[in-house]
Symmetry: C2
Subunit: 329 residues, 2 copies
């Protein structure tokens, strides 16, 4: 019996084109003692994948090597096992890959059968941990402060805003369509959502954040960045989760001058989840608490079949996805 996997065969330059991937058919592996085989049912597509495609020395996770199966996180079912902790039939979550079948990996854990895929791959996994870590541990908000989130309709941004509301913040989001803005305001409880294609972004933001901006959770980069930066309050915190608009560029656009960082005593801080594994239990518990109290809503955007990931990954960068992007296998 054979299964399909997708390997990385070229580096993006800088766009992610279909020819950087190759689909291969592989025989199912024989298991050694302690191993188990997982049939992947749902695979997560995340913006962080973009950084794994480049040859980049300093990143927290090594780049995917040419000829390797592309890395992913996913959910699956154990179909064969020589490991008593992962019996046949168990549902598992962890690092998988762009493949229909994968060997069990070191970070896999058994998860309840009844939890929705969106909870598992969204609120309780990378997007949720990223949102909580950035906002709560890096940003250290105080109730009553004003939070601005870019990429607010994305899988991380939408959770950041909802955690912000749960923690008593005024929350303003930027998103890429009026439809997304309506969803943020009406379904997720954002105080205000602004279409970043609006004519006068500075005026819109000033109206939405009359007391200025204390926390800026940055997911996108692009022209909105300077607009928000200019309206930061003294002692404001800028959480740099990503600059999606700049990943697919040979020469990223410049950032703000640091004069205001000095004068306003701002803190601009980046972070990546793997540096904070020591906090994962605490963070997971907090996220589960929000979920159980109904404070975190999300949308799943499901695409079908392993090879849909090849175009699907680009949906994260051109804004075509409507919520957490998941490949159903």
């Amino acid at each position: 019996m054979q299964y399909k996997a997708i390997k990385l065969v070229k580096r993006p330059n800088p766009d992610i084109t279909a020819d950087i991937f190759a689909t291969v058919h592989l025989p199912l592996p024989a298991l050694d003692e302690g191993q188990f085989l997982v049939r992947q049912t749902h695979m997560s597509l995340d913006p962080a994948m973009r950084t794994w495609l480049d040859e980049y020395d300093d990143s927290y996770l090594p780049p995917v090597q040419l000829g390797e199966t592309m890395r992913a996180f996913g959910v699956g079912e154990v179909v064969e096992s020589r490991n008593p902790d992962f019996p046949v039939g168990a549902r598992v979550l962890g690092t998988t890959g762009w493949a229909e079948y994968v060997l069990g990996s070191a970070d896999m854990r058994v998860v309840p059968q009844e939890l929705p895929v969106g909870d598992l791959l969204g609120a309780l996994h990378l997007p949720g941990l990223t949102a909580y870590l950035g906002l709560m541990e890096i940003g250290r908000p105080k109730a009553g402060e004003t939070l601005v989130v870019t990429g607010a309709a994305g899988s991380v941004g939408s959770l950041v805003g909802q955690i912000g509301k749960a923690e008593g913040l005024r929350v303003v989001g930027f998103a890429g369509s009026d439809e997304k803005c309506a969803w943020l305001e009406q379904e997720l409880g954002f105080d205000k959502a602004i279409n970043y294609r609006a004519a006068d972004l500075a005026a819109e933001l000033a109206a939405a954040a009359p007391n200025g901006v204390d926390l800026f959770f940055e997911n996108t980069g692009g022209p909105v960045q300077e607009v928000v930066f200019q309206q930061m309050n003294r002692l404001g915190r800028i959480i740099v989760c990503g600059v999606i608009a700049d990943y697919n560029k040979h020469t990223p656009s410049p950032g703000p001058n640091w004069k205001e960082v000095n004068l306003k005593a701002l803190r601009v801080e980046g972070f990546v989840v793997p540096d904070h594994f020591d906090k994962i239990d605490r963070m997971s518990k907090a996220l589960l608490g929000y979920l159980q109290q109904g404070q975190l809503c999300y949308r799943l955007h499901t695409i079908k079949g392993l090879e849909s990931a090849i175009d699907g990954i680009n949906m994260l960068f051109d804004g075509r996805n409507q919520g957490k992007l998941v490949v159903e296998l």
Copy 2:
């Protein structure tokens, strides 16, 4: 009897020209109960003064108003007193102004007669507190890390580098002349000093910091900033103390893109001393300790007469000063 004072009468646009100041002659004031009169003997000129000249809402200290005496810190002698805590003959340190005589201010304190003016206005006052706060409290260095300081021959930068050496760091400085670089290496013990007018700054820095840069104490802005930024290590800290090169510009030059802030989990943080008054006792004690162990050397650059401040303030921005700039009255 009359004394001279210098008032701010225009805002810089953006250069500091002589006509933004006006010298006036004023009668000595009569003292109310609790007041005391100080003859200023030494007045400090500091880069922070530039920020007080602009009408700027968000700064930690209010701008100097038009028609007001320009603000300064200084040392003086009490010459008349209706306050038993500040008897005639006492030596005092604190907020004064560009004036030969000033009324005692709320932040003035009595200081020992025997301490050199350079200790008082340098290592133990604004430059020393700024250096210590930025490097130790904001930067949180670990012995063995590599520190880069720009404006390294300035009053703050030279102390930052020396504190860095005292704390076991590898210290690389950027300064504006070969003479300053020789002083940093030979007198202050910097591991390496680089003339920022050198041809290939990136190669010079890579050679001086072979393990990359963990801490970047930024005083100047300008082209060096991007060079250092590119060589930051993961989890590096950038302490934004000032961007002198950008203060006197209508449109400051852009800063680095935040992609690396995200990927390398950098922290870029500004600070101003008045936000940290709660730490001043502890910091002063630490600075006195370095001084007593001979770990802090400095150069005083003395200019004479109150009106020498009008040109003197520009020496801070065009690099003409050779050490801590003090006006002797």
